[in-house]
């Protein structure tokens, strides 16, 4: 039994009925499900924001739009680096792909750091998790999104560490592509949240 990593046609594709890989369809299905999750959370936030605030500040008075715009911009840019990672993977340029994967994760991490900073500031201004309807809804919605980003970062870093050789052993291009699907989805969800929660009052 050879121990060599198969280097040739890694994608020795199993004949699937649709021609798409199982994992890719699964990711699309999961993202469809996740849409409903964020749909539920965003609707909850909008409903609760429409109510009169009984105690504590309103979230609209706390937003630091320039700051959040910058962190949002970083998340959007991370989609770009993700695209570059996928295309490097397609060219079988593992070295380059790893750099872009790490860059994507870094941008994501900066976004999460920005979110943590934002939460801290809000909390210090008396907008705690239990303060009022808006605060509970705001933290749960943005928190759920933050957890999604954090999971994505772990996923990207794991992929980067696995694509350590240009043989791309266990990390075939498609795996990176599927991680990319997830990453772009999380990004798009943020664009919706930023628009609906932050910009539209």
């Amino acid at each position: 039994m050879s121990t060599a990593v198969p280097s040739a046609p890694v994608e020795h594709a199993h004949q699937t009925s649709t021609g798409l890989s199982n994992a890719k369809i699964a990711m699309w299905a999961f993202l469809g499900s996740d849409c409903m999750l964020f749909g539920g959370l965003i609707s909850t936030f909008l409903l609760l924001r429409a109510k009169d605030v009984v105690a504590g500040p309103e979230v609209k008075d706390l937003y630091d739009i320039p700051f959040t715009s910058v962190s949002s911009f970083m998340l959007v840019m991370s989609s770009l680096t993700m695209v570059l990672a996928v295309s490097a993977m397609r060219r079988r340029d593992g070295q380059r792909a790893r750099i872009w994967l790490v860059a994507t994760a870094l941008l994501g991490a900066l976004f999460v750091a920005g979110q943590v900073y934002e939460f801290t500031v809000f909390y210090e201004e008396g907008f705690g998790f239990t303060t009022n309807l808006q605060s509970s809804a705001f933290y749960v919605l943005t928190g759920f999104h933050g957890v999604h980003v954090a999971i994505g970062i772990l996923m990207l870093l794991s992929l980067a560490s696995m694509s350590r050789s240009d043989e791309l052993g266990v990390s075939p291009p498609e795996t990176v592509e599927i991680a990319g699907l997830y990453w772009h989805f999380v990004d798009v969800v943020w664009i919706v949240i930023f628009t609906v929660v932050y910009l539209i009052r």
Binding site: T3, P6, T16, N22, G32, S33, G39, S158, E174
Partner: protein
């Protein structure tokens, strides 16, 4: 379930070293013996485990039903106190919906979808095992509430704010919310898996419109799960945050609107009804043609109506809230959508009638249950129409009339379909034939019991008896019908006992007949019980009801004739033929990681309730489990395959065949 131990075994030569790259841990080897059940990724074993555990939960939920009926048999009942009664009916509803019908339908889907579409396994065998473990651990976690300080007492619908800590101070509702999040994770993962299986794992020639109706209805139900579950997951998280972290989602003092819960709950809750009933419709649509000896009437109409029900099911949820004061426009709109969901449902009933019409009907037990479903579900559907009339529904909602309605739908519909499936597929699953005689007693007692129990509830409801009553006074005209209903419930209990007895007494009633009912679909073309590899070679499909077309041909005189036995090729060695050489078959190897990863859930759950360091343990299990999962060697080297798949998301490829695909198809 020792019944299956005699299945053919996968022989592995001992001493093979695992030499896969990044293969940090060895994979378990055993596929027989009791330990193998914990690591199995075989869709058939997982299906059996789903079925067995959901039947245990059915017995528990049934005992709860008997307690309810014992309490209500006479006015001012004293069997249970009011608080216990509330816990019992909450557990009854939750158990039957989340821990019985969903998983038992998952059992059938798991076991039969791959075989019916000509696949070796589901798309992601390890994720499949994970779904099962998450489900069973979630169910057990939920029931831990009963041991640790009181069951959930807010009803399965858990309307806020009655579920707040103020009004429900025990941990019961916490266990409920967290347990349902866990079973929700299980069902979501399962839905993704089965959807990909249906879309992507079909044998060559098995186009979507050649898939058996059971596969179709299960597919629709999985899509409903996929899109409905996240909504209740949101609701459960909000409730959990409210109860454990003092959030304000349902805190009226902070200006919250309790109807938010109802909207979230029922946006899930109504599609849920179709999740529970569509696969049963699928089972019945398989059973009736076989026992009528003619094809399903209106296959396309059946599938289209199923899809239509799936879509429309998301647009009717407000009919659960007709009495909450939402305003006439939305009430009228949802009244209208609710009425018209009766149309595709009606189509199904007509098509079953059309299939029976001019057939040659054989009333074996599966057929009796199938016809029982048609007759009982018709009643449930029609009482549903009376509920759709929103104005007069303000009289019926929250009364026993609606209890009658949804038991005709879920017991007369789902459960009858499930028992039809049990009797129909039992020989395929276990290689044992259930007794027809006991089965017929089972059917008649269950049929009579169901009508006796749920029929009178229509009258009770119209006479103004609200549901969820821990007791009732004697001078309201409700005494007689409650007694009749309670007697009926014991008849149902006896009938289920007969089923258990049937399973026991026929445990040695071995059959090797691969096709006892003269079936139409591919599962009848393989040995009984199904061999571990499902098929010797990948089948080539050219017809709807492929197996039937391989057995029968239209003769010169235009008459259907059965081909000679030597021309009918089974897809695995059957009876006493030599078993397939499993070395030629690539099967997914067993794995520890689904169980380990799922074990994280109850740790996190207990941690949230009692002490956060348990969450840490759960978190480590989760992360460790996922990495162990991703890094384990993807398959056994003995099969001669190499790690071209596996260590990506999930299992990637599932099982495939290294043998040549089947060359001998049926003549077209």
């Amino acid at each position: 379930m020792a019944l299956t131990e005699e299945r053919p075994m996968l022989e592995l030569s001992p001493g093979d070293e695992l030499t896969q790259p990044l293969g940090v841990f060895r994979r378990p080897r055993a596929i027989v013996g009791w330990r193998s059940w914990f690591t199995s990724v075989d869709h058939k074993k997982i299906g059996i485990m789903y079925g067995a555990s959901s039947m245990v939960f059915f017995a528990i939920g049934g005992l709860e039903a008997l307690l309810i009926r014992a309490q209500l048999a006479r006015p001012d009942g004293e069997v249970l106190n009011a608080d216990t009664y509330n816990q019992v009916f909450t557990l009854h509803g939750t158990t039957m919906v989340f821990l019985v019908i969903i998983p038992v339908l998952a059992a059938f889907a798991n076991y039969f979808i791959p075989i019916m579409i000509g696949a070796r396994d589901v798309a992601f065998p390890r994720m499949n095992a994970y779904s099962f473990w998450a489900f069973i651990l979630g169910g057990l976690f939920l029931y831990c509430s009963v041991i640790f300080g009181g069951g959930p007492d807010g009803g399965w619908f858990a309307y806020a704010p009655n579920t707040s800590v103020t009004w429900s101070p025990s941990h019961g509702m916490d266990y409920w919310a967290l347990g349902l999040i866990m079973t929700g994770v299980a069902s979501t993962v399962g839905a993704v898996n089965l959807i990909v299986t249906c879309l992507n794992m079909r044998a060559p020639g098995m186009t979507l419109l050649k898939m058996p109706v059971f596969v179709w209805m299960s597919l629709v139900a999985q899509f409903l799960l996929l899109f409905a579950l996240p909504v209740i997951t949101v609701a459960l998280f909000l409730l959990m945050f409210d109860r454990l972290f003092d959030a304000n989602f349902f805190n009226v003092e902070q200006g919250a609107d309790p109807l938010l819960w109802q909207h979230l709950f029922w946006i899930f809750g109504h599609p849920e009804v179709y999740i529970l009933v569509l696969p049963s419709f699928g089972i019945v649509s398989e059973v009736i043609p076989v026992f009528a000896r003619k094809p399903l009437f209106g296959y396309y109409a059946m599938i289209l109506s199923g899809i239509a029900i799936g879509f429309m099911g998301f647009g009717v949820w407000v009919h659960h809230m007709f009495a909450s004061g939402l305003g006439p426009v939305s009430v009228a709109a949802f009244s209208l959508t609710t009425m018209f969901i009766a149309v595709p449902t009606g189509v199904k009933i007509f098509n079953w009638l059309g299939t029976l019409w001019q057939g040659k009907l054989t009333f074996s037990v599966p057929m009796m249950f199938a016809v029982g479903l048609v007759s009982l579900f018709t009643i449930g559907g029609l009482s549903g129409v009376t509920h759709a009339v929103a104005a007069s529904d303000t009289q019926q909602t929250d009364t026993y009339y609606i209890v009658a309605h949804f038991h005709y739908v879920l017991f007369g519909g789902s459960m009858f379909g499930i028992f039809a499936g049990m009797y129909y597929w039992w020989p395929k699953i276990f290689g044992r034939l259930l007794s027809e005689r006991i089965g017929k007693w089972h059917f008649w007692l269950m049929f009579i019991g169901a009508n006796l129990t749920f029929g009178p509830m229509h009258i009770l409801g119209m006479q103004g008896m609200p549901r969820r009553q821990a007791s009732y006074p004697s001078d309201y005209g409700w005494d007689v019908w409650n007694l009749v209903s309670s007697i009926g419930s014991t008849v149902i209990a006896v009938s289920f006992l007969l089923f258990v007895i049937n399973v026991w007494v026929t445990r040695k009633n071995v059959t090797t007949d691969p096709d006892p009912w003269d079936g139409r679909t591919l599962e009848w073309a393989v040995a009984s019980p199904t061999p571990v590899q499902n098929f010797t070679a990948e089948p080539r499909v050219s017809h709807l009801d492929e197996w039937w077309h391989r057995k029968y041909e239209v003769g010169a005189d235009g008459q259907l004739t059965r081909r000679p036995d030597d021309q009918i090729a089974y897809l695995t060695p059957v009876r006493d033929e030599a078993p397939t050489d499993l070395a030629t078959v690539h099967l997914p190897s067993p794995s520890y990681w689904p169980l380990v990863t799922a074990l994280a859930l109850p740790f996190i759950g207990f941690g949230l309730l009692y002490t956060y360091w348990l969450c840490l343990v759960g978190g480590l299990l989760l992360i460790g489990g996922i990495y162990g999962w991703a890094l384990e060697p993807s398959l056994d080297p003995a099969s001669g395959h190499h790690g071209d798949h596996g260590a990506d998301h999930g299992d990637g490829s599932g099982a495939d065949s290294t043998g040549a695909a089947e060359t001998v198809g049926a003549p077209a």
